[in-house]
């Protein structure tokens, strides 16, 4: 139960996480911590291993080792569906909207994993576009609508930890702005968020801490207040 944890308690701790796809060794000892109610970002160049980190947390890679403490439980040996039931919501990089399901069926698809999720009405109020498109096939939605749907879909389930992978990728500036607003509201509602981003300018004002990922491990940690002073280093790592 999230209620049992005082603010500031750690919600996700990844320690020495290694992950493989077949024989390919992708993660080489990821370490990071997210406290309850925090938003942290994983920054890095394409291919650094950020998506793989989220997938490894959910048990979607091949072999993995190390430790993933989720809300006080060790998840490294669990099957994906059990990990999700610890209260993890996942928005994959490719958005993962099911083409053969309608928008509303997509929205209702993930099982409720804890009480306290948002109602359908609240979600439609948050994303009015989705309400209009509820009967459309998943394949007919625009990129922006798909992204809204992918986020809305995990807010219904009561998951308190959100793993969001490149949610701004390929979207128009107005939609990116709207997504920033959504993240801010989720933070106020005490969600715990891991934001994988290419778009540093999007992540900068939202995250409490930035982890710079390079070749499958954390190379640098930058607190919110330190960003200005370490801009040069960030530019170097991110190649922006």
């Amino acid at each position: 139960m999230p209620e049992a944890h005082a603010p500031g308690t750690e919600y996700l701790r990844v320690t020495d996480l290694h992950a493989f796809y077949g024989e390919a060794h992708i993660l080489h000892g990821m370490d990071f911590v997210v406290n309850r109610g925090e938003c942290v970002s994983l920054l890095g160049r394409n291919g650094a291993g950020r998506t793989t980190t989220l997938r490894a947390i959910l048990g979607l890679t091949g072999r993995r080792s190390g430790s993933i403490m989720l809300n006080g439980r060790e998840a490294i040996g669990m099957a994906s569906h059990r990990i999700a039931r610890l209260g993890v919501g996942y928005c994959p990089e490719e958005r993962g909207i099911y083409a053969s399901l309608s928008a509303e069926e997509n929205l209702l698809l993930p099982p409720v994993v804890a009480s306290g999720g948002m109602s359908l009405e609240a979600l439609y109020a948050m994303f009015p576009n989705l309400a209009e498109r509820r009967a459309s096939q998943g394949s007919r939605l625009s990129g922006g609508e798909q992204q809204m749907l992918a986020i809305a879909r995990v807010l219904r389930t009561g998951a308190r930890l959100l793993l969001l992978d490149e949610i701004t990728e390929g979207l128009a500036p107005v939609i990116v702005e709207k997504l920033g607003e959504v993240i801010r509201r989720l933070r106020e509602a005490d969600y715990t968020i891991v934001l994988v981003e290419q778009n540093f300018r999007f992540a900068m004002p939202l995250a409490d801490r930035h982890y710079v990922v390079e070749r499958g491990r954390v190379a640098e940690v930058v607190g919110k207040g330190e960003v200005e002073g370490r801009m040069e280093m960030l530019h170097e790592y991110l190649g922006v």
Partner: protein, 306 residues
């Protein structure tokens, strides 16, 4: 006009009914194959053997079981068999999925195909060894004997055959509604598209896969019981039928639920019509259609082009 072609209306209606019955079996079997293919990604080559097992389970229950348990009076009638046989054979499918198929999911789907093909050979071989290939009779249940007579055109429609068409249409339609309209059906469709993500949402996908295989196999066994009073119950009844059913699946499009139902019925009817107009071609017409469809639309009539 009919006379000109040497065709009587009675002959036409009779062949259409035969076509409709065959089409019902094609539909039920290819529906099961489509569900299984959707989630397991393998073509279940033991489907024909499992259809045969369904028929044999009913026949054994009716004629052999009493003697086996030392009470010759005891026998399981058609109606209980219609429920018990699919349950029993479906459960055996679940055991096969849990103990064998499950180990192959990380390999090329070809391995699943080979395993199920091997299982079909083993099952059919055992039954040939025990019961020979001559075939056994299974009585039409008493309540469905006789025929409706259409005096106007001097035609008799056997009640049992009408029941088979009605029952299989009902089962196919109910399966479709279940898959399209329920939460579990949505899981099934999502699991067909992207099972890893579905599991990452918290759905127990391995269990869903087991259930899908069990259901597909139970559907085959149900078709087997329906078939028992029409065809001879024989170890080879499945392998004769399943070849046409595979062609139906290819024509309809691998894994499409509605596609497999519509194509199954449609091809049964086309086969029936071919018997009326050009009987020599009736055995090959399905394969000719398959070749044409593969040339023009390789994903099948209802399949998604990728």
């Amino acid at each position: 006009m009919f006379e000109l072609l040497g065709i009587t209306p009675q002959g036409l209606v009779a062949q259409l009914l035969v076509g409709l019955i065959n089409g019902s079996f094609y539909a039920m079997l290819s529906l099961g194959l489509a569900i299984i293919f959707g989630l397991l990604n393998i073509i279940n080559f033991s489907h024909g053997a499992q259809y045969m097992l369904g028929a044999f389970a009913a026949w054994i229950g009716a004629t052999q079981l009493g003697a086996w348990i030392g009470n010759p009076e005891f026998s399981i009638g058609y109606w209980p068999a219609l429920v018990l046989s699919p349950l029993l054979i479906g459960a055996s499918g679940i055991v096969i999925e849990r103990t064998m198929l499950r180990r192959l999911y990380h390999l090329d789907p070809l391995y699943g195909l080979l395993l199920t093909f091997g299982l079909a050979l083993v099952i059919e071989g055992m039954f040939r060894h025990w019961y020979g290939i001559s075939g056994e009779n299974y009585e039409v249940p008493e309540s469905l004997t006789g025929a409706f007579r259409l005096e106007g055109i001097g035609l008799a429609l056997p009640k049992y055959r009408l029941w088979v068409v009605a029952a299989s249409l009902a089962v196919c339609f109910a399966s479709w509604v279940f898959i399209e309209r329920t939460k579990l059906g949505a899981y099934l469709r999502a699991g067909t598209e992207n099972p890893a993500l579905l599991q990452a949402f918290g759905v127990n996908v391995p269990l869903l896969i087991t259930a899908a295989y069990g259901y597909g196999v139970a559907l085959a066994a149900f078709a087997g019981v329906l078939a028992a009073p029409i065809f001879q119950v024989s170890p080879l009844m499945g392998s004769n039928l399943i070849i046409v059913v595979f062609a139906v699946v290819v024509i309809g499009g691998m894994g499409s639920i509605m596609g497999s139902i519509v194509t199954g019925i449609g091809l049964g009817l086309i086969e029936g019509l071919t018997k009326v107009f050009y009987a020599q071609a009736s055995d090959v017409v399905v394969f000719v259609i398959m070749a044409i469809v593969l040339l023009l639309r390789p994903a099948g009539l209802f399949g998604r082009e990728t």
